[in-house]
């Protein structure tokens, strides 16, 4: 029983980190119908920025997050104005192609600036754990989970309690309706994309303390993140959280009880089964056009 509970603890903590990374991706899709394949690359970019702040000036990744939020928000806004704005509203393949292009360019830029070798950020809490009875929780994962709760909480507050949040939700549900009641959907879209990218500041800072990373690491992340948002329901923030926790727990349970080769296959089997029953994902909303299709 203890090994099972220990695996569940670790799975939930890793799921929280996944939720943090997936929140921006699902937010961007929810409002803009843009599948941002550059999401993983931007997270790795934030991790490299964290590495520079840590290795050059000794900044703790946690302290770096506020500065990184500003930088990543700016990068998100810039990407929207220069690329996303031009392909938004076109066929989904255009946005997929454009964002994949951004990911490849970013990978090249990261390789040029930091090199294509593996980098690590080692903090005093990287290799320690909090022990309670027969269980342990890795400190870095605990902190990352705490950061995830804070970031997701702030996101939920912004979405539910502010004018911008209401505008984002309005644009998400019905873009033409939002336009009719005076919402500047273009500005809301830019802000949403930038906020979605800004959430990666915390993600990048946290994953830099947990795993080594290199410019090509983003492929593994984007595959996992897409699986999470599809499972949770594209565009649903609570869905992304639930999906991330499910994937985190099933990955570790599969490793422990089926075999180390199964942590990729088992979550996808679950996704397949869920989508058979609920094509819109666990907490996704079935749109009118989905019903027609």
């Amino acid at each position: 029983m203890i090994p099972l509970l220990q695996t569940l603890i670790l799975g939930l903590l890793i799921g929280a980190v996944y939720a943090l990374m997936a929140s921006g991706l699902t937010l961007i899709f929810g409002v803009m119908r843009v599948i941002n394949l550059a999401h993983g690359a931007l997270a790795i970019f934030a991790a490299f920025l964290t590495y520079t702040l840590w290795s050059s000036w000794g900044w703790d990744p946690l302290l770096a997050i506020p500065l990184l939020v500003v930088v990543m928000f700016g990068i998100g806004w810039l990407l929207y104005v220069t690329v996303i704005k031009r392909v938004r509203g076109q066929h989904v393949s255009m946005t997929v192609l454009a964002t994949f292009g951004i990911a490849l360019v970013l990978e090249g830029v990261m390789g040029f600036i930091w090199g294509n070798t593996s980098h690590s950020v080692r903090t005093p809490y990287t290799d320690t754990s909090v022990v309670f009875g027969p269980f342990y929780a890795p400190t870095a994962l605990l902190i990352a989970a705490g950061v995830a709760v804070v970031v997701l909480g702030v996101l939920a507050l912004v979405l539910n309690r502010t004018w911008l949040g209401r505008a984002i939700r309005a644009a998400s549900v019905n873009e033409n309706g939002a336009l009719l009641v005076g919402v500047s959907v273009a500005t809301v879209a830019a802000a949403t994309f930038a906020i979605g990218i800004a959430t990666l500041a915390a993600s990048g800072a946290m994953i830099s303390t947990i795993y080594p990373f290199l410019p090509g690491s983003h492929y593994q992340w984007i595959a996992r993140l897409l699986a999470i948002v599809v499972l949770g329901g594209l565009g649903s923030l609570p869905g992304a959280v639930v999906g991330a926790l499910v994937i985190g727990v099933t990955e570790l349970l599969a490793t422990a009880y089926i075999g180390a080769a199964w942590p990729i296959a088992v979550p996808f089997i679950i996704i397949f089964l869920v989508l058979l029953v609920r094509p819109q994902g666990l907490l996704g909303t079935r749109l009118r056009e989905d019903a027609v299709a």
């Binding site: 090994p3 070798t117 080692r122 795993y211 490793t255 422990a256 180390a260």
Partner: protein, 408 residues
């Protein structure tokens, strides 16, 4: 650092503009004069992607060899130049690259890629073109069971024998010091897997019980669950078939789980030098065993010159993959000099198969299938320094440590 990053950013923009101008100015890379121009050697390496760490190190080894070879008068009186293409750690791309090197770039000679994963498909291209293919990192037994005649591995032993010296030492420990239980996690990789298989065969024969054995995919980032299972099984020794990142992540998970087996062996990860030490922390590298083809202080032919030139060109001490790349080029050059021609590649292959070649890794020789005949060195991290601990006649220290614990 800040200035360096900004400078590189500006450099990137300038580089893209320059590349665009260059591409518009020339249609194709014309090969040099067949007999009087430089000898062109082609290789594909994983300069990006999962294996980029080793690929970049190998490229440095190739470049150091080119510099030293040209300073010494070149090869057959001609300068040498190396063309390296990036295969992004992709098996399809590496095949495309070697086809391009042979058919379009018309290179005179080939050198191998990095890792068995890439060299298995790459070597098929070379074999089909009947070109000698000396690879610096292709220890999988799957390389040598295909009846190929042009493929040679320029290290001391294939993967199944890589941990042999280490495992035999463990098996020979006194009863009260010998581990009772063992765990064998391994990357799903044609090189890492056989390393673990070879070690398990020896340790099992010595009565050491296997309590965990599993293969994880290359995409595995989190090892907490695997480590948790091994911790529950209470293994005394862990033999991990690791590439790089997985080795670092595994050690981190061991630390987080508060689990310290007496003996920790990792196949490749600890050979990445300071990258590994920075990844796991010097205090956690203390006592980690690994098999190594090379030691920076080795008293082998040309090693002093190699280390000096490497330090001059790249700074710091050369990592193992750089030395392996250098040795591969040394083997190829020895064959060319002795045969006296580039044209008859079969003669080059026959010469390598029939002779011994002194290299910075030691003297290498080969079986008929191109696999090497020797034994690996066993290394161990001690006080932030990579030491050779076995075999005793090649050891750089008499001390052999437990992982993060006192000496045996």
């Amino acid at each position: 650092m800040k200035r360096s990053v900004i400078t590189r950013l500006l450099g990137a923009v300038t580089g893209v503009a320059a590349a665009a101008l260059f591409l518009s100015a020339c249609a194709a890379d014309a090969p040099g004069d067949a007999d009087s121009g430089p000898i062109r050697i082609g290789a594909s390496l994983p300069l990006t992607g999962e294996f980029s760490q080793g690929g970049l190190d190998t490229q440095q080894g190739y470049e150091v060899w080119v510099e030293l070879q040209n300073e010494a008068g070149g090869l057959l009186g001609r300068d040498v130049e190396i063309i390296v293409k990036d295969d992004a750690t992709n098996q399809n791309t590496v095949v495309t690259n070697y086809n391009t090197l042979i058919d379009q770039d018309n290179v005179d000679l080939l050198l191998g890629s990095q890792s068995s994963l890439l060299n298995i498909p790459a070597s098929s291209v070379a074999e089909r073109a009947e070109m000698v293919f000396v690879c610096p990192s292709c220890g999988s037994p799957d390389m040598y069971n295909r009846g190929y005649e042009f493929i040679f591995f320029s290290q001391q032993a294939v993967a199944t024998d890589q941990a042999k010296v280490f495992a035999e030492w463990v098996a020979a420990l006194p009863e009260d010091q010998r581990p009772k239980t063992a765990a064998y996690p391994s990357l799903d990789d044609p090189f890492a897997g056989p390393v673990v298989e070879g070690a398990e065969a020896i340790l099992s024969a010595a009565g050491i019980e296997t309590v965990y054995k599993d293969v994880y995919p290359a995409t595995t980032k989190n090892f907490d669950s695997i480590v948790n299972t091994i911790k529950e099984a209470d293994a005394d020794i862990i033999v991990q078939g690791a590439q790089y990142e997985d080795g670092v992540n595994f050690v981190r998970s061991l630390l987080r789980a508060g689990f310290s087996p007496e003996i920790l062996y990792q196949s490749s990860s600890p050979t990445y030098g300071q990258q590994y030490v920075e990844g796991v922390g010097a205090e956690n590298a203390e006592g980690v065993f690994f098999s190594s083809s090379y030691h920076v202080a080795a008293d082998t032919p040309g090693n002093d010159e190699f280390v000096a030139k490497y330090t001059e060109m790249f700074g710091g001490e050369p990592p193992e993959d750089a030395a392996d790349g250098f040795a591969a080029a040394t083997v190829l050059a020895a064959a060319v000099e002795e045969v006296g021609s580039l044209e008859d590649q079969r003669a080059l292959a026959d010469w390598i198969r029939a002779n011994e070649v002194p290299t910075i890794l030691g003297t290498l020789s080969w079986n008929a299938d191109g696999s090497p005949k020797g034994d690996f060195l066993v290394g161990q991290w001690q006080s932030g320094v990579s030491q050779v601990v076995l075999p005793t006649d090649a050891a750089t220290t008499d001390t052999i440590l437990r992982w993060k614990s006192p000496a045996f």
